[in-house]
């Protein structure tokens, strides 16, 4: 999407327009700092999504008031707390200190392989949500929950590999790419106008490259009365129709 935004900006007369060609996946891979907006954390709390929230302030400060679901690991103890972290490296680990958690603490956790680690924008000082008093403890418990409308990677692979009579795979990437055998390809931008091509009596399993277009397509289908789920993962299809699905 960014190349098209860039093109629009050039049309508007901007003279110095650049595109990060590796995109966000490349940024995360290069271990660049990732920032969680306060509203993003609030949304996770509200939707009861699974997350790992680390309060890096002193134990005393965390006990006086911490953000919901936080675990207290003072910054000085972080380096030796590695074993407390979940085995699932795709867990969203969010760090906060008084101010925004330092690049050093981020690099430490990111270096352990937590690819979805982030620092809370502005830290505790900037947090305009609730603080809860009491000892937050220091034991991390993380059980991944699916988002509404999400299908697990394992279930997606099963549906895509075998011809299921009650399911159909919908590929919402641009046309012209190799597709999973049996999948229907309708680019996300064209989906609303081409709904008639989809069966109403089957569950529609949506995928794209990264799960983003698929989640948009999910909404379109649900709004139009289709039964659908999407896979929120990286899907790559080879020219022979074989495919790889990996967590983000």
């Amino acid at each position: 999407m960014s190349p098209f935004s860039a093109r629009e900006a050039v049309k508007l007369g901007y003279t110095n327009v650049k595109v990060l060609s590796s995109g966000l996946p490349g940024w995360k891979k290069s271990k660049g700092v990732f920032e969680m907006p306060a509203n993003g954390l609030k949304k996770m709390i509200h939707e009861d999504t699974s997350y790992v929230l680390i309060d890096l302030r002193s134990k005393k400060a965390a006990t006086a008031g911490h953000i919901k679901g936080a675990v207290s690991i003072p910054e000085a103890d972080l380096a030796v707390a590695k074993d407390k972290f979940p085995t699932d490296k795709s867990a969203p680990v969010i760090l906060y200190n008084d101010d925004q958690a330092s690049a050093k603490t981020f690099a430490l956790v990111r270096g352990w392989g937590y690819k979805n680690a982030s620092v809370l924008n502005g830290g505790a000082k900037a947090w305009d949500g609730m603080f809860f008093p009491g000892d937050p403890g220091s034991k991390i418990v993380y059980v991944k929950k699916l988002k509404p409308g999400e299908i697990t990677i394992a279930e997606f692979k099963k549906a895509a590999a075998s011809k299921m009579t009650d399911k159909v795979i919908l590929d919402v990437r641009d046309s012209g790419m190799s597709t999973i055998p049996g999948a229907i390809n309708i680019p996300q931008a064209e989906l609303a106008g081409r709904l008639a091509e989809l069966p109403k009596d089957k569950e529609i399993i949506i995928h794209c490259n990264t799960g983003i277009l698929a989640s948009m397509a999910l909404k379109t289908l649900q709004d139009n009365g289709y039964k659908a789920r999407y896979v929120d993962a990286v899907v790559q299809v080879s020219s022979d129709g074989s495919f790889e699905v990996s967590s983000k």
Binding site: S2, A9, L12, Y14, V17, L24, G40
Partner: protein, 201 residues
């Protein structure tokens, strides 16, 4: 006599102007299909849309330019198909995926169009000089937008932005670019704008 000619010419020009801005041919038939409209406007003797049925027996192909609106275009041995670096004969058109976006230049007028050249849409590539690397962005981010004199824009949907973003980025989803660009983008047109999204480009 001269006066009347002038008037009719002016009328014709007016009609043409009205129709061409709407992407419609002289006879009122659209020439630019839905997704092509984002970047293309009407051109003479050219139709843009999604490839429909190809009938080798009749040497015809269909181009969908809207809901229930198709053009039927003839082709012959002289028709060339340009697909990126490859140019081939019209027989290769049937190998293209269904609904592929194509642009057809034709001769013979719109009542009996004969394709002279069929151009297949290529994936959009970011020009080399527009690319910026992770390291360069990291350097900017460490300076901050004030000192670094940049605006970093996340083009993903709002929901994805809420899941985390590159520090100092602001959200301007591509889908709502037009509505929100005047609020989000800086006044200074020479300021460095850096866009990113959820996939490599």
């Amino acid at each position: 006599m001269i006066h009347r000619n002038k008037t009719s010419l002016l009328l014709a020009a007016l009609v043409a102007a009205t129709f061409s801005t709407a992407g419609v041919s002289e006879a009122g038939k659209p020439t630019v299909g839905g997704s092509c409209k984002k970047c293309h406007t009407a051109e003479a003797d050219t139709v843009r849309g999604n490839l429909g049925t190809v009938s080798p027996d009749f040497n015809t192909l269909q181009v969908k330019v809207g809901k229930n609106l198709i053009w039927i275009v003839n082709y012959d041995d002289k028709t060339s198909v340009v697909n990126g670096d490859k140019t081939s004969g019209a027989e290769s058109i049937k190998d293209l995926p269904k609904n592929k976006e194509i642009s057809i230049s034709y001769s013979g007028g719109e009542s009996k169009p004969l394709a002279t050249e069929i151009i297949v849409k290529q994936p959009y590539k970011v020009p080399e000089d527009q690319k910026i690397t992770n390291d360069e962005v990291a350097k900017l981010v460490s300076m901050g937008p004030g000192k670094g004199q940049y605006t970093l824009i996340d083009a993903r949907p709002t929901g994805a932005f809420l899941g985390g973003h590159i520090p100092t980025a602001i959200s301007l989803p591509f889908d709502s670019f037009e509505e929100n660009c005047s609020v989000v983008l800086p006044q200074d047109k020479d300021r460095l704008l850096v866009f990113y999204c959820g996939g490599p480009t």
